[in-house]
Point group: C2
């Protein structure tokens, strides 16, 4: 849990996680770790901190039974390290047998961001899909689809869209307002579509009965809760009988400046297409430091890795070796390691990753068609 791993993290954060865990019935992921043969780095480090019904997924993985991983992407802006974190989860689950459903939320983007479908499609492919492939996504058992054109198989297309039409019957305006605040017709349509996205893999036209798991940031839990409630209300319905979907929750990777990593602020993120030089400059210029104001003070009193963005990026993904990470942490806290040196560790890792990844992107571009032809 976050408070064990991040003893200095802000009280608000801990309180929020606590609230999520207790009030909303999210389960602690730590208990799940012993059931997973090769947990992800973010799972072992408690960055993945909570789940709902992940037991069903763990069982399916153990017994090599069918299960589905589903994620949605909003095709806007650059694919950055925050997106990579989700991509790593997708690929981790695909490698462990998940049928992989990746939904391009183009209807949602059209309704809420007013971009043309053509432009959204281009972004989804050139930014998201190419990066997924370069990170290791495989076409086998992967259904990469657009909300606006679900399938070239008419049975599948009709079944999916039918479900969008039907889920609306199992919620109320009050419930939706409580979850989403002020509603617009476009938002409402997006919500119905999203609920159907999460539920539809269990339709007989798709995978049939099996666990469906959605990896999400904690802010996405309301969607999951609504979808689980609707699934429960549909249970026993001859035509639509779903198990509530499973989920697991990760902390947010901090943006460079310490807040959110946001597509709308290029100085808050490292994009996977940033040149190593540009990335280096961003880290030097913007990465929020947990160090002291002067070298002298830092040497004496040490820095705070838990608010230091460079340290967090190493922790989230760039330093897989726990003992080396611990040494960095200890040295930073003791004052032996300076902010400039810490940033240098990150820059080296980032440079290696971006150089290698951008080469992989070139061959990934040639594989795009394998994911789009269905």
């Amino acid at each position: 849990m976050p408070e064990k791993i991040d003893p200095w993290s802000s009280k608000l954060e801990v309180k929020n996680y606590d609230k999520l865990l207790k009030e909303f019935g999210i389960q602690d992921f730590e208990n799940m770790l012993k059931r997973i043969r090769e947990p992800m780095l973010t799972m072992k480090r408690g960055i993945v901190f909570g789940h709902r019904d992940f037991d069903r997924v763990a069982s399916a993985m153990e017994k090599k039974k069918k299960f589905v991983m589903l994620t949605g992407l909003m095709p806007s802006g650059k694919f950055h390290l925050g997106h990579k974190m989700v991509a790593d989860e997708i690929i981790y689950l695909q490698e462990r047998g998940a049928r992989t459903y990746i939904c391009v939320a183009d209807i949602e983007a059209y309704n809420t961001r007013n971009q043309s479908l053509d432009k959204l499609r281009k972004t989804a492919i050139e930014e998201y899909l190419v990066n997924y492939i370069a990170l290791g996504l495989k076409p086998r058992n992967c259904d990469f689809y657009f909300q606006s054109s679900r399938s070239s198989d008419p049975e599948k297309a009709n079944a999916y869209y039918k479900l969008i039409g039907m889920v609306s019957n199992r919620t109320t305006m009050n419930e939706m307002r409580a979850i989403y605040g002020e509603l617009t017709p476009g938002k409402i349509m997006s919500i119905f579509t999203q609920v159907a996205d999460i539920l539809h893999p269990e339709l007989p036209e798709f995978e049939g009965e099996c666990p469906v798991v959605v990896p999400v940031g904690v802010d996405q839990d309301p969607h999951i809760r609504l979808t689980r409630d609707i699934a429960t209300r549909m249970k026993g319905n001859k035509e639509f009988d779903f198990m509530p979907p499973c989920s697991f929750y990760h902390e947010f990777m901090p943006g460079l400046k310490g807040g959110k990593m946001s597509s709308s602020d290029p100085n808050s993120y490292i994009a996977l297409t940033d040149s190593p030089k540009a990335a280096k400059e961003k880290v030097i210029k913007y990465a929020f430091s947990g160090g002291r104001d002067t070298v002298k003070e830092h040497r004496e009193r040490g820095g705070n890795p838990d608010i230091d963005v460079s340290y967090q990026m190493l922790r989230f993904m760039f330093e897989p070796d726990d003992s080396r990470l611990k040494k960095i942490r200890d040295d930073y806290m003791s004052g032996a390691l300076l902010t400039g040196e810490l940033k240098q560790f990150l820059i080296e890792k980032l440079t290696a990753f971006l150089t290698s990844h951008q080469k992989k992107r070139e061959s990934a571009k040639k594989q795009v068609d394998k994911f789009l032809k269905k």
Copy 2:
């Protein structure tokens, strides 16, 4: 216009029609009559009293250009004379070249009436489609479809459902509330679906640019208005460019007891599967009379055909000969014709129609597959 044809009809009705014509910009159908080579009986008699942009349809009919007739049906209960009236309009337009789209609003029925899709499908086919066929609907250029499974052509299915997802972006909650009153999620979904139903024939995957006309009861005008507004707001959009749909409006055929002909009250309607004997009994027992309390008073002062349901049924559909209808009307008003005699006229016509229609239903049942295989 109603006030010319029904001088004694209630003031409220006239006021409502006036309001529709003036406040909501519905155009008088009378002006359209000279442009139509063979107008329907209900058009000539002013029962079809208003329209929106029917000029475009009249032009297409004159020039034998492509146009679409679209109607929706809610598959609940028995198919009665009120439904026959719309069926006659559908078939009239099909015979004059319309591509005929008949939408089974099963998603709407599911969301608002809580019936299973299977049951709704059965009713749509056995009640509605069989009667349409027996009344003269032809499979050529006829697209009889279910909202829940639009097409076995994936391009068509995806295009239709994509449009449902997109129209939500062109209205607001306030506009929808002003039109429909209290909204539920199921209602909202039904509205988006209905708007797409009316607009989608113009998509390139269907007919492309051409007039689409919807024959409706006056109570349905709000749907038409919303759809026309949304179409106008989508104009110039590269992906979705529609002309506002056309419409025409008929008065309601009165129910037997004088109010609405309602599926939920069997004594308010004559179903097309009622036996001639049952129909006769309903007319004798329930048909509201415009006659006087006693024969003596009737002979002296005459009856009121405008509130007499038997007379209205003759006027709406069962007495095609204008001079004979005029004689019935005059005789009833003068007192020469008694209510029992008037009812007898209707019963004879009804008996002949039901006997012949129910024979046609038997062969119609064998043709159902031609409408369902696409």
